[in-house]
Symmetry: C2
């Protein structure tokens, strides 16, 4: 998917909502406890309930790997289902992978060919070698960790390196030369919203994947204020607040209501009149 | 497994060889091409052939994920087989995971409970949050990326941060306070052998997992010279040089011969008389 196609979907749905499929088996509704494939059953219901309000889904691999091969199979079923039912929706495997040359190629193949998602999150620690193979798939995306939403992001990400930039700023500066705005995004935590303005100076045109709104306490309004660019440029991820809005048999309806709430907030922040005029914007 | 138990196995086998199960399906011997589970068939033969010479196995998850759920299943079978046949051998999932709190706990559970390996490689980029859950499993290990063997390790790992240390030195300095020598190891590439002496000043007692000897060109002698401590302190990983020593039906015998060659070199570097006396060394 190109950045333009993603932006057009955002305008159409008036939403930049990414639903994080962090389908923690310990938090699933009790009504699914006897299901042979509870992660898949849960995800199917969540996707059916929220697809009208979301432009992206982001399953985090940890919640599938914890169930072993059976979990991986439920992840595969989920991705295939989204692809079939909602071919325009962007799918991000939140895997935070990162390995060297030969091995990194196999990860790219695992996520882009075998699993067939649109994007995968990657850790930049080991440098360009770990990212390059993902950039060689037309229409697919590498989503690099930049400044994350957790407390210990200050351990290494925000250290100052020679020249006065932080580690995460150096990640942005170097890696934006490796790919394009059509195959590279960055993870920036919503809990760091005040820093989004500075980040936008380094990567004005790139899409940012923003976790941390909702359960983690980040503000959607601040993220939009500091992070939005003239083609939206944001995918804001909400997981728990939607997935576990209700633990009864009515969990899917509750998830739909929550997703709609977020979508409506996003539509307001996008500004309707302005957004409609943007539909005519061409690829830069 | 404690560091002492690992060291005792090293002395017993006169080997600090870790066999990297980077079982790339494209490089498997042709005789396995009709096998329904070629990764598992290959791994079983490799383990049977090399277990006498190795103290550790290190499957890299990329080569299993590329085959989807079926690949993950073959990884599980491999780990179960090693556990059953060779309960003293140390198993490292080379997964380079790294995620925050809640999610990181699920990864720890995925690797230590579900898959049941002894250790997992982790990316330190996001800081302590990503490592802590792995340190809370008695007898299990977190293996942190420090200075890797790839060319682009200079992109971020070797940048100088405030105070004059590099990023990877800062990773060592901070993270050694999070765990102990019984639950934390570091990845240091053999292609960086000259830097091992400096690394040993920061982490004199920790085990180092050293890839890059063999196909990547690192020298075993230099690694031993600069990296060995008084309890060996090294696991040197060899993958392709052993796994793909021969592409015929005799691949397992060729792998055994190669593994034995490496073990014999390691025995010489350990020094027999000296090693025997080390058997009496107590846990520091």
């Amino acid at each position: 998917m190109t950045a333009t196609a993603l932006y057009e979907q955002i305008l159409r749905k008036q939403s930049f909502l990414c639903v994080g499929l962090d389908s923690d088996r310990r938090q699933l509704p009790a009504c699914l406890s006897d299901d042979a494939e509870p992660l898949w059953a849960f995800n199917k219901a969540i996707v059916d309930a929220t697809a009208a309000y979301a432009v992206a889904y982001k399953p985090n691999t940890a919640f599938y790997e914890v169930a072993g091969a059976a979990g991986w199979q439920q992840l595969e079923k989920t991705v295939r289902y989204i692809r079939r039912q909602h071919p325009d929706i962007f799918i991000i495997a939140d895997a935070k992978r990162g390995d060297i040359g030969n091995t990194s190629q196999r990860y790219a193949e695992a996520f882009f060919d075998t699993l067939d998602v649109d994007a995968v999150t990657l850790s930049p620690y080991m440098g360009r070698d770990t990212i390059q193979p993902f950039l060689e798939y037309p229409g697919k995306w590498a989503v690099l960790l930049a400044l994350t939403s957790n407390a210990s992001s200050t351990d290494f990400e925000t250290l100052t390196v020679d020249g006065g930039s932080t580690v995460y700023e150096t990640v942005l500066q170097k890696s934006k030369e490796w790919g394009t705005v059509d195959n590279t995004m960055y993870v920036v935590g919503a809990t760091q919203a005040a820093l989004l303005a500075a980040i936008r100076k380094i990567v004005p045109q790139h899409f940012l994947l923003v976790p941390g709104v909702g359960a983690q306490g980040g503000s959607l309004e601040e993220v939009a204020c500091y992070g939005m660019n003239d083609r939206c440029g944001l995918l804001v991820n909400i997981s728990r607040d939607i997935l576990f809005a209700d633990s009864s048999g009515g969990f899917a309806a509750a998830a739909a209501a929550k997703a709609q709430e977020w979508q409506e907030k996003m539509a307001l922040l996008m500004g309707n009149g302005e957004s409609a005029s943007r539909l005519s914007i061409q690829n830069p």
